[in-house]
Symmetry: none
Subunit: 209 residues, 4 copies
DNA sequence: TATGAATGAGTTTTCATTCAT
DNA sequence: AATGAATGAAAACTCATTCAT
């Protein structure tokens, strides 16, 4: 076969792109190295030139994916042009809607097959995003916008709980249900933060009138 | 090999016992049918006499495991000798502490390897326990012990959130941390239910003074 | 389970009925002993009380099936109330149309899966039917109705050839094609037997005007 | 184990050679993948690198085998240096004697075990060879060497019938019988084609004086 | 005669990984 | 950097058959 030499980083990314797509479509276990290299159009052996093992690559793929999100969130968290409420809202919206415009955050991710990849992503997300959010909340408490006694623990419960909740209704088609679920989420968050200033926009296309 | 014939139900349970132990110790993927039958001391084929496939058995194992919990919870939910607060507390304690006296609910369950089994258990638990709990809460609202606008959605967020939270600290050895986490959980639950009557006892050995 | 004792021959036939049906539907290889006994509603072990092995049973099933056909053919061959032409025609019609009213001679038999059973049946049929037919032909030669030099060899070629031919068109729906194929077969048979007196009726519903 | 790398096509053929030999000797069902790769001296996995499954390989083996025959027959059919009678004879001889010099066309092929492989070969052969032969016959009719009304149907009956016939006597040792069977076949073919010009030479070593 | 749990060898297939070129 | 043939261990599953009751 014709031998095409490319820049290392480019090749690596090509492989990761192909892999992520396949992982999401078919599940990690079900995707073979052969699937990946075929999609890229390179030889079997090249995979092992760039990645130590299949699992190594999974980690690399997830890292690359999450890092983008965390970067956005970090930018919001440190943006001092926003007042606390706005900052919080923007953070939440970005956090939960991440991937929405990303063809990868498809229904695929919620299938049984993708437990591992989904779980790993969620774990890492929570781990990295929670401290940022905590920072915002503490700021809000300080400025007396929020009022709660256990900010850290509240997030430890709220974040995973919300992720579950969002994922449960993300693909719900019923506008009415969505609208209720949204309002409910808003109410619950406000209650947990001891405020009433938070408005959400986490479900796409939901009108908030 | 000597042929020992047993009652079908007994054998099936023997196999499930062995399997659950192994799944938890080694992970589902890593446990082979051969492992299971060797532990029980029967022939390979017998496994398939009782279970259609490895996955079928996993489901059976989980069902058997969960059903016991749900039964206990259902008993509490329908026990009219308890007032709402007590009933709620007992329910929560039972729910989150289930497995504590069960050698199986070990750290094992929280390992990466057991994502599938853990996830399947959590899903089924939430699905079956939430309606029972909702019933209690609605009763509490009716009796004006609780006050919240979106009981169902509150549970949809709170239950998975709490499960995560509990699991995160279940094996924490630091008494002080545990005590704080407990109080925090209590505070958060009370806040969500619009009450202050709930006391928790979810972490084993936690003193509640 | 309730234990139902039956006459040996009856049980054996029950098992063979079930087996034949399954062999034809699913193929011999694909049909398991378990399939058979389940369909009859008896225990696994009973199979081996009546049959030495799965292959033994196959032979028994085929024998039973063919013997009926051969009996009919033998009756025709020895029926002296018929003239040679009529006898020949009746024989051929019976031979090739056997199974037509028999729900078993279904398309099933022609599937790839049933090579073994189909082949075994064909072989046995040819082996037993050919001598009977040869007898008729020799009679016809003697009576100068037929004229051919190698009656035995003619049958050795014609019978398998015709079986193939019939099976190829048996399920053809196109009336016109069938009509042509019929006329062709007639022509070929007459030519081989050195006569022109034979009329066929081997394809069901074919009009012969 | 020492790793010997070969050209893909070569390896593939090596595997097919080994497989065909084994299929014929032991039967398709009885031959295991392990048998095949051991004979070639390669790893188990290599088989699946080249063939999707055992059945896939069977098809590949048969295709390769038949294609050679068909090529020869096609050459004869299109050889305009031969007159019709010669062409027909040569075709028939080649057709029915194929494999004679081929150590593979051994008695093996006629064993019960090889029903599948034998049947698949016969089917494919008939399917591909019949149109070629039909072409010759139509040419013969046109040139008034042959005279028959239903050439296509005649072949549909004659070809499978002859294959059966040949296979029945191919390994017969009795010279006298063979001689008779040969003459009979000749007579029957001539009769079916409405000619008397065809001479056969299908049984090896048969003297034709 | 009948039951049905138990046997266990045997088979195909899968795939991450290696390595000579 | 890249190729792609080769490795080989491992695993799930099948099913005819047996046998204690």
């Amino acid at each position: 076969m014709v031998r095409v030499t490319k820049d290392a980083e480019e090749r690596k990314n090509e492989l990761m792109d192909a892999a992520l797509e396949l992982f999401l479509k078919k599940g990690f276990d079900t995707t073979t190295i052969t699937d990946i290299v075929k999609r890229v159009g390179v030889a079997q052996g090249l995979f092992y030139y760039y990645f130590g093992s299949k699992h190594d690559m999974l980690d690399a793929v997830i890292d690359r994916y999450i890092d983008n999100l965390i970067e956005s969130l970090a930018n919001i968290a440190s943006d001092n042009s926003l007042n606390i409420t706005k900052k919080f809202q923007l953070f939440i919206d970005t956090f939960f809607r991440y991937g929405e415009n990303n063809e990868l955050f498809a229904e695929d991710l919620h299938k049984d097959k993708n437990l591992i990849i989904h779980q790993k992503m969620t774990d890492k997300t929570i781990k990295l995003a929670t401290p940022l959010l905590l920072h915002i909340i503490n700021e809000g408490i300080h400025k007396e916008v929020f009022s709660l006694s256990y900010p850290e623990e509240t997030l430890e419960i709220l974040v995973p709980g919300m992720m579950d909740y969002i994922h449960r209704y993300y693909f719900c088609q019923n506008k009415k249900t969505l609208s209720i679920k949204m309002r409910a989420a808003e109410d619950i968050i406000n209650r947990m933060l001891g405020t009433c200033s938070v408005k959400l926009n986490i479900f796409a296309d939901t009108d908030m009138t």
